[in-house]
């Protein structure tokens, strides 16, 4: 018997599995970010100068851009998480998971625009100075 047969073709992706893998990746990214974040913010205990020094590093334009990415990551993970919870707690919702995905993502995109566009302007502003 062949315990681990080689795979010829990767398994077909579809909405559910793509949503899951993105959820997993964004989750892990967020954990990574969280660790950094706590460490960075901890500098606030060292007083205004120290804190502002650190912050000026992490507020370079490139970081401002990354922060927009962070917002997207958070919004995706959060609202896909909401979808999972709706599927789990609402009655007979598993059949409608694709529609639910569409709905929560619409909200997520809306929020991303509301937050992301100003952040992008801020970034442009920072670059021009």
């Amino acid at each position: 018997m062949l315990e681990k047969p080689p795979v010829i073709k990767s398994y077909r992706w579809h909405l559910g599995s793509i949503a899951w893998i993105l959820h997993r990746i964004t989750g892990l990214l967020l954990v990574f970010y969280l660790l950094l974040h706590i460490w960075v913010i901890h500098h606030i205990t060292s007083g205004p100068e120290g804190f502002n020094k650190v912050m000026s590093v992490v507020q370079k334009p490139i970081f401002l851009l990354l922060e927009i990415g962070l917002l997207g990551t958070v919004l995706y993970h959060a609202f896909n998480g909401v979808r999972i919870m709706i599927v789990e707690f609402a009655d007979n919702a598993a059949g409608a998971h694709k529609a639910i995905f569409g709905a929560v993502m619409a909200i997520a995109i809306f929020l991303f625009l509301v937050g992301g566009v100003p952040m992008f302007m801020h970034f442009l502003h920072a670059v021009s100075h």
Binding site: M1, L2, P5, V7, Y11, H14, L15, W20, A94, G95
Partner: protein, 235 residues
């Protein structure tokens, strides 16, 4: 019809170290299913091609395999619905391969045995009469009792690929089929297997199982229903 290329996974336990692909090219007839094509190969081109089949109309669950990267029944898959003339056929993923497209289903059945796949009753039934069950209660079994044990769902589940101890969508669906049967009194007997980190809690609602199920059942619904049942039991 046009000429088709069939790329088929081959593995002969007597000769091969590992699997390989063999290609067959021919022109199938209109209306043929993947199983018809396999039969054509076996009966005309290469008698050693090995796969399971029996009913050839989607009820026995023998012919589950991975067709162009998606699980399904060979006998139920129309070639023309594949949308391509290159057809890649592999054995069901996640199970050891015995030969060619035949996999060892024993791990799959083992999961089923774990949830005690039979009606458990403690009150004796009426003699020479049926137990009554309202149509509404019977309706709760719809979408659960139709399973043909083809294995397409469990074999498509990325969680099962990663964790071979995961009960998998099929066993959980079966558990739901009994736990939601108004006649069943086996909650206590089954719950340990279901309410386990390798049971109902391991699923990540990936929905591959739903996409794969040829009988259009929804194991994910069964799984989340079971979770709610466990949750209610604890509150």
């Amino acid at each position: 019809m046009a000429e088709y290329t069939f790329r088929i996974f081959r593995y002969d336990p007597d000769k091969d170290e590992t699997g390989r692909i063999q290609e067959y090219r021919f022109e199938p007839e209109p209306g043929w299913t993947v199983l018809d094509a396999l039969n054509y190969i076996k009966w005309n081109l290469d008698g050693s091609l090995t796969y399971r089949r029996a009913c050839r109309h989607g009820i026995c669950g023998s012919c589950g395999m991975t067709i162009n990267g998606k699980n399904g029944l060979a006998c139920e898959t129309q070639l023309k619905d594949l949308g391509t003339t290159v057809v890649t056929i592999e054995p069901l993923r996640g199970f050891p391969v015995i030969k060619d497209l035949v996999v060892d289903m024993e791990p799959f059945y083992d999961k089923l045995y774990a949830i005690k796949p039979y009606l458990i009753t403690k009150t004796p039934p009426p003699t020479d009469k049926e137990r009554l069950q309202s149509p509404e209660d019977r309706k709760k079994l719809d979408g659960k009792y139709e399973c043909i044990l083809c294995g397409c769902c469990t074999s498509s589940c990325p969680t099962y690929w990663a964790d071979k101890n995961f009960l998998g969508p099929n066993a959980l669906l079966k558990a739901a089929r009994f736990l939601f049967d108004s006649r069943d009194e086996g909650f206590e007997d089954r719950v340990n297997a279901v309410d386990d980190k390798h049971g109902v809690w391991r699923c990540h609602t990936i929905f591959n199982c739903v996409e794969a199920c040829p009988k259009e059942l929804n194991p994910t619904q069964a799984i989340v229903d079971l979770r709610k049942l466990m949750l209610r039991g604890r509150l």
